[in-house]
């Protein structure tokens, strides 16, 4: 069961991390192009707007990957000294709360995207749709929630299946 979830998570994360990396390179080249073109009198319209949208993809799409690598800062100074059963209890509560929050965040951000579709909302400068970026951000949070859920299951799995 956990192995299957891990595989699904791996594929999801790979797609999302690649998306984030591409978005980062887009921001990099677009910003540099705008610096040069602005000096020549031909600024790229909507660069700030697009940078913000792609920035959301950069930050959100790799959320699951970041958590999988345990990169998020935690204060484990006390927990490391707790007896094992209490450490597991701490881990369960941590994973459960974080998973619930990530899923709630994903749903609420997706709702913003749905509202954009329903109202036909477009961006101020370029007059383009923003909801694809919003849905990728929501997917990033969903992926994060998925990582926490797998970690939560692992707390209850037999020793051999935990890794």
């Amino acid at each position: 069961m956990i192995k299957v979830l891990d595989k699904i998570d791996f594929v999801l994360r790979k797609i999302l991390v690649s998306t984030a990396a591409i978005a980062l390179m887009v921001i990099l080249f677009m910003t540099c192009a705008n610096i040069v073109l602005r000096r020549l009198g031909y600024p790229l319209q909507g660069t700030f707007e697009l940078t913000g949208l792609f920035g959301a993809v950069v930050a959100a799409a790799a959320l699951g990957y970041t958590q999988k690598k345990k990169e998020n800062i935690a204060v484990d100074i006390l927990v490391n000294h707790l007896p094992k059963p209490l450490r597991i209890l701490a881990s369960i509560s941590n994973d459960a709360f974080s998973a619930a929050f990530s899923i709630l965040a994903s749903w609420q951000i997706a709702k913003i995207g749905l509202r954009h579709i329903a109202s036909g909302e477009v961006t101020e400068t370029l007059r383009i749709i923003a909801y694809p970026f919003i849905f990728i951000t929501a997917a990033g949070f969903a992926s994060l929630g998925f990582v926490f859920i797998i970690d939560l299951f692992k707390n209850f799995a037999p020793k051999g299946e935990q890794q």
Partner: protein, 434 residues
């Protein structure tokens, strides 16, 4: 229960969650902030607030400066420039007593100026400098201590993610904070070098002299590090002249660093992918902390706790210096048990209004607390930088590494005292900005 009490209770719950469940700081702040907002306002309002705050934070143009500056640092990190910086510094000061340790601190400050991360600086400089100091018979306490202390300059000297976050959370100019950090970083670098000089004067056997090189070799060694000096100047002068926004400066810096690395054939595709992955991880971590802090900040704002505390402190019958020293004390202790970034993000909404309410310059306060929290990066038990150095210096005991860094603690204290006595160290350069 009054709103202020709910706010205080929220902070207490946050601390319990942080310390007793080891929940990542970002999620702890977000969850406690969400639940607190539920209590004070309503569940529906809290749910809506979470979605809108997260989307607004993640899509904020100003925050794209974070992944771009991190990318610049990662490209520089993976291109191996640290060796060139170290050899340039070594050729210039390595021949004097304790010179190799001084060269390490100077190379750390130069690397920090383009990298912005203290752990990345520690990892690279440990690999380059520790074998060299071992070869010349340096005392392991001095060698590991100088690398660890020098690496903390990464968060003081711009570009620094910590300064960016202080700027964003206190609505100050990031450019001005960078210039303030530059002055403080310079003073701290001099203090660290002076510490090595004093230690080696008292215990000459700790820092034997290195090889002396001729002037031609010294000048030649500068060419290897020249591009990076140019890169730093481009970013800093571009910001100063108003040619770039901070995000543009970061993008231009990352782009030029990439071109330099490609021209010098120091960035194979595998290394570049590693740089990208590291950038994404670090950026996500920082952005999530910012988002968590925003949610927690919304909760604190509805309780009016920060303003009430600031008003209360203003009525206390103690001098403002005492209040400031108490705040600094909290940062020193907090820095020992928490990551600097997380500590600043959690505490700024509380302490920043107090400091500004007492009449302290916001920019000076931001720079000074940055210097203070860097102490936490080298002091036990958290001391991330010290652990990085110790992981490279496998033949040196952990307690000796901590003893080594403790030699440099007076330098930090002196730097903070100088900042208090002469605030212009942090405010002069920013005041010259247009």
């Amino acid at each position: 229960m009054s709103l202020t009490m709910i706010g205080l209770l929220g902070i207490a719950v946050l601390m319990v969650v942080l310390f007793l469940t080891a929940t990542p700081v970002a999620f702890a702040m977000a969850v406690v902030g969400f639940l607190g907002f539920c209590c004070v306002v309503s569940f529906d309002a809290a749910v809506n607030m979470v979605g809108s705050v997260l989307w607004a934070t993640f899509s904020k143009y100003d925050l794209t400066v974070i992944p771009l500056f991190i990318l610049m640092g990662q490209i520089v990190f993976y291109s191996g420039i640290n060796e060139k910086l170290y050899h340039a510094a070594y050729n210039w000061v390595g021949h004097i007593r304790g010179g190799i340790a001084m060269a390490t601190v100077l190379a750390c400050s130069a690397f920090a100026a383009i990298c912005g991360s203290n752990t990345a600086t520690a990892a690279t400089m440990s690999t380059v400098a520790l074998p060299q100091m071992k070869k010349y018979g340096y005392n392991p306490k001095l060698s590991t201590g100088s690398v660890a202390a020098g690496s903390t300059l990464g968060v003081v000297i711009p570009p620094s993610v910590v300064l960016i976050l202080i700027g964003l959370s206190t609505e100050q100019s990031i450019v001005k904070l960078f210039y303030g950090g530059f002055g403080a970083g310079l003073v701290l670098t001099l203090m660290l070098v002076a510490t090595i000089y004093i230690i080696c004067s008292i215990k000459p056997q700790w820092g034997p002299v290195g090889e002396k090189v001729d002037f031609k070799t010294k000048v030649k060694s500068l060419s290897g590090a020249g591009e990076m000096v140019l890169l730093f100047l481009l970013v800093i002068i571009g910001l100063y002249a108003g040619f770039f926004t901070p995000a543009e400066a970061a993008a231009a810096g990352a782009f030029i660093a990439l071109i330099i690395a490609l021209v010098r054939k120091q960035m194979p595709i595998k290394q570049f992918i590693k740089a990208l992955k590291d950038t994404l991880r670090a950026s996500c971590m920082v952005m999530m902390i910012v988002a968590g802090a925003m949610i927690f900040g919304k909760f604190l704002a509805v309780t009016r706790l920060p303003y009430n505390i600031a008003d209360w402190v203003a009525t206390l019958a103690v001098s403002k210096t005492v209040v400031l020293l108490i705040i600094f004390g909290i940062y020193i202790i907090g820095g020992m048990i928490m990551d600097a970034l997380a500590l600043l993000i959690i505490t700024i909404p509380i302490f920043f209004p107090i400091a500004t309410g007492l009449g302290y310059d916001p920019l000076w306060f931001g720079v000074t607390i940055t210097v203070i929290t860097t102490l936490g990066a080298i002091s036990p038990p958290v001391g991330a930088v010290t652990f990085v150095v110790a992981s490279v210096a496998k033949d040196v005991k952990m307690k000796d590494v901590f003893k080594g860094v403790s030699i440099f603690i007076p330098a930090y204290i002196l730097c903070v005292l100088l900042l208090m006595a002469f605030p212009k160290i942090a405010t002069l350069l920013p005041s010259l900005l247009k």
